[in-house]
């Protein structure tokens, strides 16, 4: 149970399992993607994403899209574990529970990044904006990590509650606000070509959030799954 090699073996097994199952069904990713595109479409009409306003709202639209789609994926990814008793199956294995948590988090992170990888070029083409700025991609990397770190923990609580279908966004959004704000500001900063000194505080905030919440979730996950 202790030791680095068994930990990594369990972690990679969980990640492999999630990615493999998703590769088979593509249920989660396709749902997230369709949802993401719908959100963008709705914003198109709600905000009239004309070129004059676009520069300012693109960052906001992108992150609302990511967080909503991400929430959908997080919910589904845990529901799958709960439905056939697989969560018990995971907990019965002689592995550190933290490895299970990190494995699920990593898999969820991959799903969120995949959504970003597909949404970004589509958005770029639709609105004729260049989104492929290295700093912007870094922001997405950092922002989505903090989001799934907390989201994976909270979704493992939400699926065990009676109100599981509606609980996750209510639990997740208020505590994810710092991530969303920082990510939106950093993204907006890169899109407007601001100086790095103006963006840096936001990136620092994202890193702080990522470190703090990944560490805390890592420590308390055991209490969420242990009866």
């Amino acid at each position: 149970m202790n030791g680095f090699a068994p930990f990594m073996r369990a972690l990679s097994a969980v990640v492999w399992k999630d990615l493999r199952a998703e590769w088979r069904s593509r249920e989660l990713l396709s749902a997230m993607l369709v949802f993401a595109l719908l959100v963008i479409l709705i914003f198109n009409f709600a905000l009239e994403l004309e070129s004059s306003v676009r520069a300012n709202v693109t960052a906001g639209v992108l992150w609302v899209t990511f967080t909503f789609a991400g929430q959908l994926g997080l919910n589904r990814s845990m529901a799958v574990e709960k439905d056939r008793g697989c969560l018990d199956g995971l907990l019965l294995a002689p592995v550190d529970r933290a490895a299970i948590y990190l494995g699920k988090t990593l898999a969820n992170w991959v799903f969120m990044l995949l959504v970003a990888v597909i949404v970004l070029p589509i958005y770029s083409v639709l609105y004729n904006t260049n989104l492929f700025i290295p700093g912007l991609l870094l922001t997405i990397l950092l922002g989505s990590e903090g989001y799934v770190a907390v989201g994976t923990l909270l979704s493992s609580m939400a699926v065990q509650a009676r109100t599981r279908d509606i609980l996750l966004p209510i639990l997740l959004f208020p505590v994810a606000i710092p991530v969303v704000i920082a990510a939106v500001k950093a993204t907006g900063g890169y899109l407007q070509g601001l100086d790095i000194t103006e963006i840096l505080p936001w990136l620092n905030l994202l890193i702080t959030y990522d470190v703090v919440f990944t560490a805390v979730a890592f420590m308390v996950f055991d209490s969420v799954v242990e009866e």
Binding site: L171, V212, A217
Partner: protein
């Protein structure tokens, strides 16, 4: 456990007397502020409630950690009690703030960091209550509650910090004074005394309320237990 502890009765009286005194101090002892006038008096209780709100959520997070370590239902009761009281005082803070902001800022509401953080904080702890109400089994409810009390409390300073990176207009009366803040003022000694007394009063009031609520929780658990005994 069934009889009300004597000390609690004593605290009830002390808290009551202090509160009346605090009101008297605010209205008759503290001088009228030159620019803002009467509405400034909201400040004493506004800041005191904000302090209790933060204190209560900190207490909740602290007892959340204790619960996760010791798994003792008593810690869970304190945590829940603190959250409930915190929600009430955070709400009082927002309302008194609005009363003050209307004449001074010319708006009931602004998207200032403190106001927004207070609102987000309320939402976090409403979510906390919804989480608890969605779980039947008491131990699991306590565990999840503890985890969320910790996560929620950690997110609050980050939320505040992230919103503060926008420019703020909320006055900072205590500590460093931001010249851009609207409605800031310097406290005279009498104001400071009144303010400190309000803080003390609210803190004593908080401890008293917390004690009552924890006792109520313990009693209702006992009722639950007795009901089950009758059924079997």
């Amino acid at each position: 456990m069934n009889a009300k502890p004597k000390l609690l009765t004593v605290m009830d009286v002390i808290a009551g007397v202090m509160f009346v005194t605090a009101v008297a101090l605010v209205f008759f002892y503290a001088p009228l502020e030159r620019v803002m006038g009467l509405v400034q008096k909201v400040f004493y209780f506004h800041v005191a409630s904000a302090w209790i709100g933060m204190l209560a959520f900190a207490v909740a997070a602290f007892y959340g950690v204790l619960y996760l370590v010791k798994k003792d239902a008593r810690y869970d009761r304190v945590e829940l009690a603190a959250v409930e009281i915190g929600i009430v005082f955070a709400f009082i803070t927002i309302v008194t703030g609005s009363i003050w902001a209307r004449p001074i800022w010319n708006a009931w509401w602004t998207w200032d960091p403190r106001l927004t953080t207070a609102t987000v904080m309320e939402l976090v702890y409403f979510a906390y209550l919804m989480l608890r109400s969605g779980i039947e089994e008491p131990e699991r409810r306590a565990r999840f509650g503890a985890v969320y009390a910790i996560i929620g409390f950690l997110s609050v300073p980050l939320t505040f910090f992230s919103i503060r990176l926008f420019r703020t207009i909320h006055p900072v009366v205590i500590g460093s004074n931001d010249p851009g803040a609207e409605g800031a003022f310097d406290m005279t000694p009498k104001m400071t005394q009144t303010f400190m007394f309000s803080l003390l009063t609210f803190t004593v009031g908080f401890v008293t309320l917390l004690w009552h609520r924890v006792r109520l929780g313990a009693l209702s658990d006992k009722v639950e237990q007795l009901k089950l005994k009758l059924q079997s």
